[in-house]
Symmetry: C2
Subunit: 145 residues, 2 copies
């Protein structure tokens, strides 16, 4: 019932990009240092986020990464799905794979309904929270200090 470091680091990096949104590309090195994660490991995660269209990159000197869209248009759920795959507590809920939603026995379908309820409660939080929400939380924390 955990997100791996892939999801955790990825969200941290995207949060970093959201806080610094509009300031041009941010170097991976800077993000890695600020968020205290391995640079070359994060590089792989950023590659996936780039391929998924969540960030844009710029190579060469003064290059780096920036959000492809406004923080308000990026949900945490999107980030997690790119880095961790579908948000599903058990496979039989996963309609994106071929494992399908059919369990067979009615007993097991009772459980399926339960897992679905858990899934819904998770996606509700993940999909309804955007980077903008987190950015604003961070601003409020700054002010409160």
């Amino acid at each position: 019932m955990r997100v791996s470091t892939r999801g955790e680091y990825g969200v941290r990096a995207m949060f970093d990009l959201a806080v610094n949104f509009g300031q041009g590309p941010i170097a991976l090195k800077t993000i890695a240092e600020r968020q205290m994660v391995s640079e070359s490991y994060l590089e792989q995660l950023m590659a996936e986020l780039r391929k998924a269209g969540l960030v844009h990159s710029k190579r060469g000197a003064q290059g780096g990464y920036e959000l492809a869209d406004k923080p308000a248009n990026v949900s945490i759920g999107e980030i997690i799905r790119v880095l961790e795959g579908p948000i599903t507590p058990v496979d039989c809920l996963d309609t994106e794979t071929e494992r399908g939603p059919y369990c067979g026995t009615p007993e097991r379908c009772v459980l399926r309904n339960f897992w679905k309820e858990l899934q819904d409660s998770m996606t509700k939080v993940l999909d309804n929270t955007t980077l903008e929400d987190l950015r604003q939380d961070a601003c409020r924390l700054e002010v409160a200090e």
Copy 2:
């Protein structure tokens, strides 16, 4: 963001015991066949559930397992915690381990608040659903057929 087969099989087995609650001990073999899971693998899971006090066992002929308490008193969260450990999306939320709840930087604490929200939505579903709820769902399905 998944439960492993440990949690999934464990919940299935406990659900099976709930449906057959009050009929004396059920043999592991029976549960394994009904729930279509590996018997020797399930055996290990039942050992952990027994050590955690969630089931009682009876050895020898006509032996087996039964719930230690009424289905209404067993939440799915309890089962999951025994078999999967603490329900926490990220380590910094886990007060049961020594990793503690302190992150350091305010940026990361913004994320901590978010993960906490996710955790709360998960535990709400897991701890508020009991085996009795599932048993009744199963009965309703039977009747509807």
